[in-house]
Symmetry: C2
């Protein structure tokens, strides 16, 4: 078979062929150069990616080296400084709350692309894990990537702890229950904290109402740890305390602690052992939203923490520390390390009644 | 100009052109498929890379999801299970020790590719950072990648704490000095812990002699926290205690603690305040290398920790916990959380004399 080409088509083929070959070589070259090798990963990843390439500090692409001296947590310029928030939420049988949880977070005025989310799912018997993944899929597959969160990660860790809901709020069960909660919070924190996190926000899955400006509002308090005032969401809009773990010690509460066994855990809201502390939910709420009071114990329905507090070691004691465990123990630890802990009695958010 | 091609060369060009085009398209396709997108990153990265692609758990490539239920720390099958060790070392003005540190680590019989290293450099006035990077460059650029460590990372965080070396060992300076050390250890831990870490080894930069099988030997103790017996390296080979922070409480030591102010920090090896504890360096050392004793306090010249201990929240208190800070406080915390803490009095390692 003979095959004859005119000079025009021959030229076209040669030009096409050469172009493709050049493109091919260019692509191969860029693929194996250090610069590009890191950037596609960086787009995908939720963490800084250390690599084997080594440069002296100062080089932008040097993921081997992280300089923590540059990380800021600023009261008024967080967004301008592109400070990253890590939202942490431990979950257990939480399917019914996911819709509202993501709706609220998505509506906050702090840019989503500066917010990462991480969840620890433990000991769940409902479809929490699958439902969570489906919610994340919906929210992160949106066309406009600026509306997506910077990253969302799920960790699973079972503690084989299953308290029947009828006994969940029994006084005697609390120290054990709270120490398991502490372990799961610490597990989540140690797995999820990233090198560029400036702020850590602990948010309960069943918080159902808060202002869209909550992140900026809490940052403005410029505290190492800060909490709003969390009430119970009721149909009749009545004032009903929810988070009783936000409190100040009083002379009376300090006095009764003197005689206590070192291992005795104090708990708020139980008639079995009154603590005589001054709870934030009992403070006047008709004050300015920015009005802040120093606290000695905090809950974690919605708690904003400057990341260095956790990095220096303040976490949620699963053991008795100054008669506290978990979130109140965290406040006690943070204060013992010299960090500031504040609450905003006039800043109201709402939690669902759980059983 | 005319241009004529014979049928043979025409065919060759078309075949070549088609082949290149197909290769090009194939390359583009694989580049943008999820599978390949993750794998080049995975090779480079030192961490699991979360991505935006979402699958249900069970999928191997799903980096969004981490199941911690599968992580093991096994006494005798760590290597077979490919369990990962994370070696953590805080550094300050440490240039002179780097050669020996890397030499020893490189010679351990636990495979390098299952070991990651992470350093926290703080408040250094010598060239620690540059020297460290040059050592890492040498060790990680070796031809045989199986000899390389899985990853090496450096974190920098200054605490603006500079105690003149003449005052470094003064009694009154210890609680403050140790609390800064605690903060730097926690900072390193929270930055470096990876999702697949099974064991955390804390190794002082100036430990200068230990057996190559040390990882397997310590794992064999099957303790949540375990330490060898650390002596001072001397030219005359005399027995000279170094790590006095490995100890057991005694009846006498418990008794004197009863009357102490809650904030008082106890320290070993200072004539100003004898503690009456039983130090591991004072125990008989002519016992089997595997012989283990329960401890109440540990140092961290060489300390192997099952990773879940840190993940559940036991770290290095920068505040006073049961009259301790830092490493001894860590042992106290771990025990309060129900973890086992052991020492091997017959297993000797050596530390340089520092000033």
């Amino acid at each position: 078979m003979s095959f004859i080409l005119g000079s025009k088509s021959s030229k076209r083929i040669i030009v096409l062929c050469t172009t493709i070959a050049i493109l091919f070589i260019l692509l191969l070259t860029t693929l194996y150069s250090g610069t590009i090798r890191q950037s596609p990963c960086h787009l995908l990843s939720a963490v800084s990616i250390p690599s084997l390439s080594l440069n002296l500090p100062g080089s932008k692409n040097n993921h081997l080296f992280t300089n923590f001296n540059h990380i800021t947590s600023s009261a008024n310029h967080a967004q301008r400084n592109k400070e990253k928030i890590l939202v942490l939420t431990p979950l257990k049988d939480a399917s019914p709350y996911l819709d509202q949880y993501f709706k609220l977070l998505d509506e906050t005025s702090y840019p989503n692309h500066l917010i990462s989310l991480a969840f620890l799912v433990s000991d769940s018997s409902d479809n929490t894990l699958e439902s969570l993944q489906s919610h994340i899929n919906d929210i992160q597959s949106r066309w406009n990537y600026r509306h997506r969160f910077e990253s969302v990660r799920i960790f699973k860790k079972d503690f084989d702890f299953d308290l029947p809901s009828s006994r969940r709020h029994e006084y005697e069960m609390q120290p054990l229950r709270r120490s398991i909660l502490a372990r799961s919070r610490n597990w989540l924190l140690s797995a999820a904290l990233k090198s560029d996190t400036s702020w850590v926000a602990w948010i309960d899955i069943d918080v159902v109402e808060y202002p869209t400006s909550i992140f900026q509002d809490l940052m403005r308090a410029d505290a190492d740890v800060v909490v709003p005032n969390c009430l119970l969401k009721r149909d009749d809009q009545a004032f009903w305390a929810y988070d009783k773990n936000n409190w100040q010690e009083t002379d009376e509460s300090k006095r009764i602690q003197e005689g206590l066994d070192e291992d005795f855990v104090l708990l708020e809201g139980y008639y079995e052992f009154p603590t005589y502390r001054y709870l934030m939910v009992d403070m006047p709420t008709d004050v300015d939203k920015d009005y802040k009071v120093e606290l000695d114990g905090v809950g974690a329905t919605f708690t904003l923490v400057k990341a260095h507090v956790h990095r220096e070691g303040a976490n949620f004691p699963a053991f008795t520390y100054q008669h506290q465990v978990e979130t109140e123990g965290f406040a006690k630890m943070a204060k013992a390390m010299g960090f500031s802990v504040y609450g905003l009695p006039g800043y109201l958010i709402y939690h669902i009644q759980n059983h």
